[in-house]
């Protein structure tokens, strides 16, 4: 059987998702041997401009250059897989989307007005091109990624989680940090697959896998956290760390902005 031709690419991000693939130390060399790697800048100087069966892409589209690169990748691959939250929804750098103009962010951090970067408001890949599969997480989970890759090698599409972190948390019989410790846990609206890692350590879920698609009831979560005594601004900041580009969270930001009467720039 001919080995699938693959490329692993990164746009704007921390490199953590590619790194999670390299962190599959026990199986890494075997795993890579199943593929014909045509482009993997982080670990290889070998590069071939050929068509690809699969492209793995991490990072958000945050510059015009990212967008050009993404379109080139899409044009040369049969299957495009977004790995990690930056590639799915813009990730943490999208946190202030809709709250602070990207050029304002640049001015505050670099003290410059002129757009020398060609910056774009950070977004996920699917805002611009067709994405065939999304593997969530900040960072992605090793086991889930390995399962997905194995399924694809067998010609199947992997199963995706469609229930919240709370389900895994209950299955593991962890004490509920929201009810018992009054911590601002986002577990009810965040997609499972991490094995409720944070509640297992006695910490609240901060949402690094992103919301359950179509089903996250962010308004109800907001009410629960308000009843626990958290202030609105903090709750919104918390929800926005990983989910700022999602409709439900955008709506909530807007409601709270109106309620508090704060005229933040849009």
């Amino acid at each position: 059987m001919e080995r699938p031709k693959i490329g692993v690419f990164s746009l704007t991000g921390c490199g953590g998702d590619q790194l999670m693939i390299l962190n599959l130390e026990d199986v890494l060399l075997d795993l890579l041997s199943y593929f014909d790697i045509k482009d993997f800048q982080e670990i290889s100087s070998f590069k071939e401009d050929s068509d690809l069966d699969i492209a793995f892409v991490e990072g958000s589209v945050s510059t015009k250059q990212d967008l050009r690169k993404l379109k080139e990748i899409r044009a040369r691959c049969k299957m495009l897989i977004a790995i990690g939250n930056c590639a799915i929804s813009g990730g943490i750098q999208a946190m202030k989307n809709g709250q602070m103009e990207i050029l304002e962010r640049m001015k505050r951090v670099y003290g410059i007005e002129e757009d020398i970067y060609g910056v774009l408001e950070p977004k996920g890949l699917s805002a611009y091109v067709k994405v065939d599969l999304e593997i969530p997480g900040c960072p992605i989970e090793k086991e889930e990624t390995l399962r997905a890759i194995t399924s694809i090698l067998h010609g199947d599409m992997p199963d995706q989680f469609d229930y919240p972190v709370c389900v895994e948390c209950k299955l593991k019989e962890y004490p509920c940090v929201l009810i018992e410790k009054n911590l601002p846990c986002l577990g009810p609206i965040i997609v499972a697959g991490c094995g409720a890692r944070c509640p297992g350590l006695g910490l609240p879920c901060i949402g690094c896998r992103g919301p359950i698609k179509e089903e996250a009831n962010a308004a109800a979560e907001l009410e629960v956290l308000l009843s626990k005594g958290y202030d609105e601004e903090h709750i919104v900041n918390l929800m926005r760390i990983f989910c700022a580009n999602f409709g439900e969270i955008k709506k909530i930001t807007e409601i709270i902005r109106r309620r508090s009467g704060k005229g933040r720039q849009e």
């Binding site: 026990d26 990207i102 910056v119 890692r197």
Partner: protein, 429 residues
Amino acid sequence: MNRERRIEIAEITRVEGHGRVEVIIEGNRIRDVKMAIFEGPRFFEALVEGVRYDIVPDIMRRICGICTASHSLASIRAIEKAFNIIPTKQTELLRDLLIHGEVIESHALHLFMLALPDYLGFPDVIRMARKHPEMVKAALMLKKAGNLVHNIVSGREVHGMNDMIGGFSKVPNEEELLKIRKAMEESKRTAQLAVDLFVRAGTPKFVESENILMALDPGEKFGYIGDYVTISTGDYYPVEEYEKLTNEKSVDYSHARLSTYRGSPFMVGALSRLLLNGKKLSGTARELFKEQKDLLTHRNSLMNNLAQSIEIVHCVERCIEDIDALLSTGLVDEVVEIEPRARRGVGAVEAPRGVLYHDYTFDEDGRVVKANVITPTAQNMANIEKDLRIATQRLINQPDEKIKRVLEQIVRAYDPCISCSVHLMRIKS
């Protein structure tokens, strides 16, 4: 005849992030050397503005996937200093363990998977593994031992969450620490193998020149956490005065903003740490440092690879030492009261690539008013350009391909983390 010759490496490979090198030569004179960054900016300092202190480390540790625990600890230490929180002895030991584990993971990745293929003549570790399968497997196990520390102490390999302001949410138990200890015992041989490999591979001398070195003073013992910066010029500063040391400015020959100390480029990272603090090493690492003293000169930045390999030996031994110290007193759950204050705090650690500063100012409710982060790669950038210039001058009569290979090898020796550095760098479009 002043014909212009242009040498360009369109994308540096086997480094974290996206960068480009461009050299312009006129006749026998180098007109311009640029290490240009085209990684997208993320503006972390703007992201945390107005955010309450308790989620600041969760945001800031995501600056980097590789040195995530370093960012985490620098961030936590800055907040603790602002709020006047003194960590317990147990917390200090667990943090020491965590950062030593991170250095093992990061250095093992860099040395075996990214740098060594240069020395052995392979385009990557995958092809190197076909010829040297046992060595690569051993290297992966060494890397895994470092990651085990991340997993157990911070909660996972990348962007852990268990290390927090005041200490740790869940203190590791004895069984978990013994698991790390066993992995470290089993890694000792591979750690020393790295030193042998880089000594035998020989290190080229095409960048030999004076370098100013900078590192945190780790206190009594060699390590990665400290509150003062020591410099090879003999100067010594509290980390709060870091702006005097990093002194960023734009220069006309490059689009990058460069860090200089008193007008000169300087170097941070493993070589600087060993040469400034090596006398504080103990055990096998101390022996190896003494043995390789002649090779480890401040005049050759490429020796950073060899320095990293000796650091791995140190880190493996230190993890065992920290675990023994933790087990001898027994582990306890600790609760620390946190009271926000309207103050500024600067926290620094030695990340695998060098000194890393986080600086926050809070309002009275503990919300960030102002944030600033200076990464080691940003500090090294001016020195990298200096070395690229020197090497090009020495190799000026060589063909472009040869020069390109050398320039890429120089950049790689600094183990740059471009994703981290980018919030300080101007890109060249």
